[in-house]
């Protein structure tokens, strides 16, 4: 007699499906549909026209903003991964369990405060007549223009993603089987070879996940490029705000948002594929 399938696991999966349906799939479908609507007299009206797509994709400023956003997010993710690695390595291999636990705690603490407040704090610190320039002035440097620059925006991006990347990398490195490292050393691998041929490949999944998280978060970021980067040049998130501000063109903003989501999906799939690709 065939065993009756249990409904038990499906019941437990249901909340997740409902959640994703209500707060991800539903709004996503609405946004895609909205990109085909029209605005008449400052009111959105359901329609099915390609005018918004044609208008946005044929404009040079859209593609300029797209590549600025893409390159900045790539740079931020790379920078965060590189800056985080020495700290993560030290936490994973050179500290006790207690120290690592406390370090993780202190890396989480910044998330308890508003990101916007932290960015405002950076605005004060990076100002032309701010404390950072005052300190640099004491050693005869500066003043440097740090606000309303790409550097300013990058500082904001690092504020957002660096702690997260350190945490992800640390967990990944700490989980490496120490016997592999011992074996590499016993077989005569120097520290450099051990790092590049054993540790990094073993922690590859975590390192790539850290990178892609940083990319995703900075790709859609509005606060840093706006308040620290001076909207100069604007990113896609700033373009969305500009588009909705002028003429209430939410359907055109939806086009920008859909392109952003497609880009992020592709980036995420590429990252997952790279992370789990078997070595030939």
């Amino acid at each position: 007699m065939a065993k009756r399938p249990s409904v038990y696991p499906y019941v437990w999966r249901l909340p997740l499906l409902i959640w994703q349906g209500l707060f991800f799939i539903g709004p996503l479908c609405l946004m895609v549909a909205m990109s085909f609507w029209l605005v008449r007299n400052y009111r959105m009206e359901p329609d099915f026209v390609f005018k918004n797509w044609d208008r946005m994709l044929s404009r040079g400023f859209f593609w300029d903003a797209y590549w600025v956003t893409f390159l900045r997010a790539t740079l931020a993710a790379t920078l965060a991964s590189l800056l985080a690695f020495p700290a993560s390595f030290a936490l994973a291999f050179r500290t006790s369990e207690t120290v690592r636990r406390w370090a993780i705690f202190f890396l989480i603490v910044p998330f308890f405060t508003s990101y916007l407040v932290r960015i405002y704090a950076w605005q004060v610190l990076l100002a032309g007549n701010g404390p950072l320039n005052a300190i640099l002035g004491l050693v005869g440097l500066g003043p440097f223009t740090m606000l309303s620059t790409g550097f300013g925006a990058m500082v904001g991006y690092m504020t957002l993603v660096l702690p997260l990347v350190v945490i992800l990398q640390t967990f990944s490195l700490a989980a490496i089987d120490r016997n592999l490292i011992e074996a590499a050393r016993n077989l005569g691998a120097n520290p450099r070879a051990t790092l590049f041929q054993v540790i990094i490949p073993a922690a590859k999944v975590g390192l790539i996940i850290g990178f892609i998280f940083a990319f995703i978060l900075t790709f859609g970021e509005f606060v840093s490029p706006f308040y620290l980067g001076g909207s100069n040049p604007p990113t896609l998130s700033i373009l969305i705000v500009d588009t909705t501000k002028s003429g209430q063109q939410w359907p055109r903003a939806a086009v920008v948002a859909v392109i952003m989501i497609v880009t992020l999906f592709l980036a995420a799939f590429a990252a997952v594929a790279a992370a789990y690709r078997r070595r030939s």
Binding site: F61, G229, P233, S246
Partner: protein
């Protein structure tokens, strides 16, 4: 079991009377009528206590503000609300025609407002009247010119929009992030004065785009209201295009070394006007409020509004600020014959009302603005 017999002593009588006296205001408050809510749609600051507290107390009303940022935003908020949602609407003058065309505002009775007290230049403000029908009443205005850091540029250097190309401010020129004021100013620099910097042919529009793009290497950023304040205050930006005393006036009060002038090429005037929302059931009290804002007392408040200062279109408003705060009257040029007096600037044809593009669409200007930002 004992029964205490209540009896009235002098002490208990005094205690009771004192208690009653102390609780009287609470009882009075409970019995008083709840204040009538008045829904206001306006730029930030117009329903704040410095502007409306006195009127609220005198008339037992309470303003419920919905603040917007920009004419498009205002029109969208009205379009998405049922008629009668907003009792009083403060709009930029160039959007009054659109409010009227869309049927969002009530006709007003001109005899109820002191137009005789208005300076003649402002009695028939464009777009506010259709024939004899009045749709909106101008209550304040301001001037947009060259705003600059006085440590970086001299007043003489700031007397032309070419100041934005001055090497002393390379990388430190900011824009208020709205195309109309900035492009209007640069249109004036290109000599587009008649009929208006906003009424330009396609050739002039091409030349304006070219001129604007040539400013890009000087530009340090594009800022919203808060960002404009902080970047000027911190000296991160040394010159700002698209603003005027409505920003630098507030910063000057904080001691920041900034100023605004109307340059030789001329300035742009922003204008704010009150209309009565279509379907409002509180037209009488709203009319009274607009009358209050046009009174000398209301105009003094408006000139010194905490959020951003404005100028008065009425003769009595000028007189009142000269008496109440002579320094402010001098600073804002609300004195006959003053160098930066708006009436003098109008007479010299150095002042132009901000408008929407007349020969191009708002979309054209906005698209170019996006292109300029990413250039």
């Amino acid at each position: 079991m004992s029964h205490s017999k209540p009896h009235l002593t002098r002490r208990s009588l005094l205690t009771g009377a004192a208690g009653l006296a102390l609780s009287a205001p609470m009882l009075g408050r409970a019995w008083a009528q709840e204040p009538t809510p008045i829904n206001m749609l306006a730029w930030y600051g117009h329903a704040e206590p410095d502007m409306v507290a006195e009127f609220e107390a005198e008339n037992n009303v309470k303003f419920v503000p919905k603040y917007y940022a920009g004419g498009d935003n205002m029109l969208a908020l009205i379009a998405q609300s049922p008629p009668g949602t907003y009792d009083v609407i403060l709009s930029d003058a160039e959007f009054v025609q659109q409010l009227n065309a869309a049927g969002y505002i009530e006709e007003m009775d001109a005899s109820l407002f002191p137009f005789d007290d208005f300076w003649p230049e402002y009695q028939n403000f464009p777009g506010h009247w259709t024939g004899d029908q009045l749709w909106s009443v101008m209550v304040r205005f301001g001037l947009l010119g060259v705003s600059y850091n006085t440590d970086a540029l001299s007043a003489k250097e700031a007397m032309s929009y070419n100041a934005f190309w001055n090497p002393k401010v390379t990388g430190k020129v900011g824009h208020f992030d709205w195309h109309l004021p900035s492009l209007g100013q640069l249109s004036l620099l290109n000599g587009n004065r008649a009929p208006s910097p906003f009424d330009i042919s396609e050739d002039m529009w091409d030349a304006l785009q070219e001129k604007t793009l040539s400013l890009k290497p000087q530009v340090g950023g594009y800022f919203d209201y808060g960002g404009t304040f902080s970047s000027l205050k911190n000296a991160d930006m040394l010159a700002m295009c698209g603003i005027g005393d409505w920003i630098t006036g507030v910063l000057q009060k904080d001691g920041a070394p900034v100023a605004s002038v109307i340059p030789e090429e001329g300035g742009i005037q922003w204008t704010e006007s009150y209309s009565i929302g279509k379907g409002s059931t509180k037209q009488e009290i709203v009319t009274k409020f607009i009358q209050y804002m046009l009174s000398p007392k209301g105009q003094v408040k408006s000139i010194q509004m905490a959020a951003y200062p404005g100028l008065s279109p009425t003769k009595s408003g000028w007189k009142a600020i000269q008496e109440a705060n002579p320094a402010e009257a001098e600073r804002s040029g609300l004195i006959d014959g003053h160098d930066q007096s708006p009436l003098k600037l109008l007479a010299e044809q150095r002042l132009f009302f901000r408008d929407i593009p007349r020969q191009q669409t708002l979309e054209d200007w906005n698209d170019f603005w996006s292109e300029y930002k990413t250039a």
